[in-house]
Amino acid sequence: MVFSPELLLQALITGVLLGGIFALISVGLSLIWGVMRIVNFAHGEFLMIAMYIAYYLVVKGGWDPYLTILITAPALFLIGILIFQTTIRPILKDPSMNQIMLTVGLSLIMQNLALVFFKADVLTANTTYTRLNFMLGPVVVRGSQLIAFAGSALTAFLLYWFLQKTETGRAIRAASLNRDAATLVGINVRNTYLLAFGIGSASLGVAASLMIPFYYTSPTVGLFFGLIAYVVVVLGGLGSFPGALVAGLIIGLTESVGASLLPGSLARVLTFGIFIVVLLFKPQGIFGGKQK
């Protein structure tokens, strides 16, 4: 591949915009993982379901993609708490491996239900935003990605503010630090967990609506985004919001700059390489000083 400064600049812009979305997808996982110490291996599949909801609202219902947030976020909140109550709550105290296997099972169910209902086709929603591109000097900026970036940053910021400043948010953080102590000071840990899981899922609803103008959906789309979310959460440090943002940008840049420098899809190997190195040498992530 011929190297040119324009190409690199283009890759940088795309990488930053992509990184924003990666960060939003990851904060939900980070919240659930950080609060409940459960790695939800069905995280990507929650996103996939949300993308189908958004897709059908846009294509069949004629909705504006960004208005679908009004449906996707509450729908994912409900799906999240429903799944939490029926399957995840009963195994909260089980060995971590059982939790992993249970959520892997959930991901298989969701993936294959999607295959049954929506078939294996790759669907793209062609919206007015999809063609909203403009030139910034020598590089093309995709309007839909810019909006997604801004929306992701805003959503992540709102979530952060909610966790830091509100009474409920403080309760969630207290429960994540010490389950027993939180109970002692009168926090209803059960409800806190339920809420955290619902919010973590709802953030994927927002992400799905933001992505639908420029990203395809398919039953297996969750696989890739799920993996990206684990990478970002581990790299940024478990439970750390600023960490997830920075890590999202790093991975977004790795993917897009890597794709412009390496042949084929080898950039993905780079992403997993970073992941493995971080897991081995700094599993607490770049921002998670204390926890492991």
Binding site: I91, N98, Y230, S265, L266, L280
Partner: protein, 330 residues
């Protein structure tokens, strides 16, 4: 206790007899189901040595399956080397990989979900490397050239030949797995799983035994990969290195009963026929049916019988025994 043992050896003899004679009276379709049961039982037994005995749950064992499948197929298709030899080359390479992965992860103390994540990442990285390596077929993958009915090339007319190959492999794996668990090495693995710090304090070289389990498990899995390639005559990066095979490798061990000799076998024996038959009945109209079934069973097992089928059996047996003892006392 005694009569129970006798019963189980009779049961074992009957199962072995049925397994040995199946191709003599069953049609091709049922032999195929037999092959699938044995193949997944074999893979689950291989996974169980690291995942069940040592308690280190790899979610990326397809890495080793893929190494086995690609090595033997490449050697066979490009250089004409028989898979009977190629499988051992693949096994050796996978063993080296198992050493590398195991040493790297366990040396840095990775456990639980973190170990699982590294194994997924490695297998996924392998998918992308294989996809971009044109020398081994890239995204298209490799076909196993058909040389006619050539047992010396691990190719047979009909499914009966394959059936006996995987039967021998499975029996050998079960024997090896039984042998391991009855030896000092097996006890050390179980000790690591139950309480690593305590094992270390008692003088078990935990890093060493975990890495050894990783090597053995990887090698066995790679041999299964060669069989997979020969049986289906086609491999591509996703169907040997992907997440799908990784999950199918461990599924039956989890459902049957983790860390027991027979759990993986029982899991495959119970579930694979149901899945294969449902796949046959529902066919193309419902292509994810068997995976949907697997996912549902996995969730139900985790919720209601986390020790799998064998664990449940043991529990029931224990209860009956306790009751009998009580009534004897009374």
């Amino acid at each position: 206790m005694k009569p129970l043992l006798k019963n189980s050896s009779i049961l074992l003899a009957v199962i072995l007899l049925v397994a040995l004679t199946l191709p003599l009276y069953a049609g091709e379709y049922y032999i195929h189901i037999g092959v699938m049961v044995l193949f997944y039982a074999y893979m689950a037994v291989a996974w169980n040595i690291l995942g069940g005995y040592a308690g280190q749950h790899s979610l990326g064992h397809s890495l080793f399956m893929g190494i086995g499948a690609y090595t033997s197929t490449y050697l066979f298709s490009v250089m004409g080397i028989t898979p009977w030899l190629g499988m051992w080359v693949g096994g050796a390479l996978a063993g080296v990989m198992g050493l590398f992965v195991g040493y790297l992860c366990f040396r840095y103390g990775l456990k639980g979900p973190y170990f699982a994540l590294v194994t997924i990442a490695l297998a996924e990285a392998a998918v992308y490397i294989a996809t971009n390596a044109e020398g081994i077929g890239g995204a298209q993958g490799l076909s196993v050239a058909w040389t006619g009915n050539a047992p010396e090339m691990m190719q047979f007319n009909g499914k009966g030949g394959y059936y006996y190959v995987i039967l021998v492999m499975t029996v050998a794996a079960i024997v090896l797995s039984t042998w391991i668990i009855r030896r000092r090495f097996g006890y050390q693995l179980l000790a690591v799983r139950e309480n690593e710090d305590a094992a270390e304090a008692l003088g078990v070289d935990t890093l060493r035994v975990k890495v050894q389990a990783s090597i053995i498990s990887a090698m066995l899995t790679a041999l299964g990969g060669t069989f997979f390639a020969q049986y289906f005559t086609y491999i591509n990066p996703r169907n040997v290195f992907g997440e799908g095979p990784s999950i199918q490798i461990l599924l039956f061990a989890i459902i049957g009963g983790l860390g027991t000799v027979w759990g993986p076998v029982v899991g495959a024996l119970v579930l694979v026929p149901v899945a294969e038959l449902s796949r046959g009945w529902l066919g193309g109209s419902f292509s994810g049916a068997h995976i949907l079934l697997y996912g549902t069973v996995m969730v139900l097992v985790m919720l209601f019988m986390p020790n799998g089928i064998v664990g449940l059996y043991e529990k029931i047996r224990q209860r009956i025994q306790n009751r009998n003892e009580k009534s004897e006392v009374a």
